[in-house]
Amino acid sequence: MSEITANRTLDCSGMNCPLPILKTKKEVDQMQSGEILKMISTDSGSANDMTSWANRTGHKIVGSSTEGGTYTFYIQKS
């Protein structure tokens, strides 16, 4: 995956549903429109959860990757 430069990073490793979503929302609320948040999660449910969250809130997942049980999402604030 090509490198995406994130403005902020949020590590949700070890957290389970619904904490990654709640923490992501809190972080995004503090960001400016267009900024990108790199979110790291180890919750295997978060792949689908993050997509649903983004669909609902209008923020965009501009990149994601999975590596050995770690999920990384790049979320651009709408």
């Binding site: 070890g14 957290m15 389970n16 619904p18 709640l22 929302k25 609902r56």
Partner: protein, 169 residues
């Protein structure tokens, strides 16, 4: 936002396991830019107490796995076949089952009920306590956390009438 989605939940259960779904769903709804109202009635009322002391019991719940939160992976994965005659009669069994479940939640990175409740309030989820059941069971407003509204069926229904999702838990 004109098309803000609304979630209405009746929380009627007060065991440690069933305390989770209302707070999880309401906090997630708020994180998804939805409005949420939790109406606490009957055994759901203790979830509003300042000091929460919730328990769980495997009695009468054959679906509840009895697992250990420590030891090897195989040991943790083993579901202990404990008959109700033991779990229902041995003093302190529920306390042990509660401790085991809390420990498992902690190990799996699940938030505590107190944390989820706080996150709900921070994100604007409204809590309504059923005044009628409070009177019946002897709950007093001073025992509950701040920010709780008090009302009855009509108050819930007024909100639920315009809600997109209504759940009874």
């Amino acid at each position: 936002m004109a098309d803000t989605k609304k979630l209405a939940i009746i929380a009627s259960k007060g065991t440690l396991d069933w305390a989770y779904p209302p707070f999880i769903l309401a906090s997630a709804a708020a994180a998804m830019d939805m409005e949420a109202v939790l109406f606490f009635t009957f055994y759901g009322l203790p979830l509003l107490k300042k000091e929460i002391d919730l328990k769980v019991t495997p009695v009468g719940n054959p679906a509840m796995p009895m697992k250990m939160p420590f030891g090897s992976k195989e040991f943790q994965g083993f579901d202990w076949p404990i008959p109700n005659i033991i779990s229902g009669n041995v003093p302190g069994f529920d306390t042990m089952a509660t401790m085991l479940m809390k420990e498992t939640f902690k190990k799996k990175g699940v938030a505590t009920i107190e944390q989820l409740r706080e996150m709900c309030q921070e994100s604007g989820v409204r809590f309504i306590a059923c005044q009628m059941t409070m009177d019946v069971f002897g709950f007093e407003r001073k025992d509950f956390i701040d920010g709780v509204e008090y009302g009855g069926a009509a108050m819930f229904l007024e909100y639920a009438a315009d809600a997109n999702m209504s759940l009874f838990i």
